[in-house]
Symmetry: C2
Subunit: 367 residues, 2 copies
């Protein structure tokens, strides 16, 4: 009997994997946050629905604030040794990694298909994380971005004045890879954001890492400081860092804490043509140079130097987004965090790897 | 050869279906919204990241506002004749239908597993839809809810004063099915909401219906008015309505527009013990009575009358949430919108059904 059963089982595995998304589970949770007491406010009567029944809303009381939202997709055929966490940039949400504005496959789907357990999230005060009253709880005011702003600041267009609602009048960056015909869909993904909530965001990310790691963290733009700082707070739980155009960094004086965590930093194109990005990249490179100096392993993936032209700040949405994802995937595999073949025991292997990783805080020795 | 291949293919199908989530696709998009011009505001210099490079933010310009967010999960073995749209209630997001606050399977996963194409969404100004500046664009102020509020208003506790952070002091509704030990996780799902955005929300939902329907719409609480009103605006595109404790209704004078759409209305328990819910239910029943009078087919699923006790307003999170989902599933199947067996041609069948439905605006005749 046995010789008959084995080939059938193998066929099933292959079929499920190729049936594009075969997941052993998917779901979501909120994590982190704290309770805050609010006093001295009025009691209001609110009619929530036209013609509805009025409800008493006492604005005083205890509020649950500063939690974050996490959605996970766990492939049936797990090949990543640890979960892959995806952290979005400022004024955005986890939608960053989902379907691109022009309807193509995003990095979330790509890495799930590769067999990574992916945890995609909305940081504190963004998207499904919710936000708290201000100025009572959040300090300062939210920042709203007009449609022109990301176009001019994310190296889609050539800086100030490059945006126009008329495509014929837009001044695009050379060889631009951004799907500019879907720019209106991209700005719909933008959400208001504060500039005063960094500490709360970091606290929630640490709570997430404590819950689901050891892990790889892939982070973008504003999350540059979150990825590096959270890894500095929990170095034993982070097995690799992928910094995608980080706009902030960690604590340079504590750079040595990251020396056992392989780090990849990815930059797109046309940085020299922008007014701010040369300095932002310089800040990022100076920070990771400190990690290297301490004996750490840092690799810089400068896409134009690798012959890949035209990438904007939103690499994960650019037309060649899967090409860039493939380079990240290859780098992760080189770190020994990925099993590329389709052996039926891949999940057992991942369990074993996770066990190894938990027992080896310095990581990477299983390669 | 052929006689060998067929049984293998059948085995694969079964295995993938039971490998809990076999999806042919998953992804997300934003839909609807409009552009608004803002003038007379200052130009600010914003440092988005500590130590970062200041950016000029001109608050004047064109803003993209009032779009909504939609995430979809399309099972490989499709059994629903049309997509199932899930619309959340007030102060909440699509997270309502995801994993329950205590970590159990929610209705999203349940219906995907049953083979429905599910489109779960965040309405305008909630979650990943983002929100617009106020009072410039949104009128009025956002409503924030203290932790006690949903506990006392959603029939988890017995009304005013029933909440306490100390579980021993909470006054729960009789036979309560809400996973009260995870109440703190539930309030983390709450997001601020306005009471002035109904028209914008309806416009966006209509844009969604125009994009993905014919469909079934399952809607909860505040979305009572959205589900009924959008169905009244697009009656030919809605093949069934599932109103879960609707807190608002459609236009009673136009009730006859809904007469060809089978409608199920679901109510939980302990309504008589609440100060507002007897009237809210009365409003709902009066509205759907108008549909019945016009010759429509309305069924009321009053859970305690069916012997199912203790359901709160958040039925989809209650301990018996899958039992309630099963009753909805059975009702949908009775409407001829579901193919229960696992025949390999289920997707062809669904395509055919969609074709039939498109050609038969009155719906339901294919049963």
């Amino acid at each position: 009997m046995r010789t008959v059963i084995v080939p059938v089982a193998a066929s099933i595995l292959t079929a499920c994997t190729s049936a594009p998304y075969a997941l052993r589970d998917m779901g979501s949770f909120h994590v982190g946050g704290r309770d805050v007491e609010i006093t001295g406010k009025p009691v209001k009567e609110v009619v929530f629905t036209p013609g509805g029944v009025p409800a008493k809303v006492d604005l005083n009381g205890t509020y649950s604030v500063e939690a974050m939202y996490v959605q996970y997709f766990l492939p049936a055929n797990r090949r990543g040794a640890v979960p892959l966490l995806m952290w979005h940039g400022g004024g955005l949400t986890g939608v960053t990694y989902e379907t691109t504005p022009d309807g193509r496959e995003g990095w979330l789907n790509y890495f799930v298909k590769q067999g990574w357990d992916v945890y995609n999230s909305d940081a504190v005060e963004r998207g499904r994380a919710g936000w708290a009253m201000f100025p009572d709880i959040f300090k300062g005011e939210p920042v709203f971005l007009a449609k022109a702003n990301p176009f001019e600041r994310f190296r889609i267009g050539q800086g100030a004045g490059s945006y126009s609602p008329d495509p014929a009048k837009q001044k695009l960056m050379p060889a631009s890879q951004f799907p500019v015909e879907a720019y209106d869909n991209f700005v719909k993904q933008n959400v208001p954001r504060w500039t005063t909530t960094d500490d709360a965001i970091i606290r929630a990310y640490i709570a997430l890492v404590d819950k689901v790691c050891p892990c790889v963290i892939l982070f973008h733009s504003q999350a540059g400081q979150f990825g590096f700082k959270v890894a500095q707070a929990r170095p034993d739980k982070v097995k690799a860092l992928v910094a995608v155009e980080p706009a902030g960094v960690g604590d340079a004086k504590q750079a040595a804490v990251l020396k056992s965590i392989p780090t990849l930093v990815v930059y797109g194109d046309n940085i020299a043509l922008d007014s701010r990005w040369p300095q932002i990249r310089k800040n990022g490179l100076e920070f990771v140079a400190e990690i290297s100096k301490a004996g750490g392993k840092v690799e810089i993936l400068d896409l134009p130097k690798a012959g890949i032209r035209g990438n904007s700040h939103m690499l994960m949405m650019d037309r060649n987004n899967l090409q860039v994802a493939g380079l990240i995937q290859d780098w992760l595999a080189k770190q020994g965090l990925y099993r590329g073949d389709t052996a039926a025991s891949a999940s057992d292997w991942a369990d074993e790897m996770r066990g190894n990783l938990s027992n080896t805080p310095r990581g990477m020795i299983m390669r």
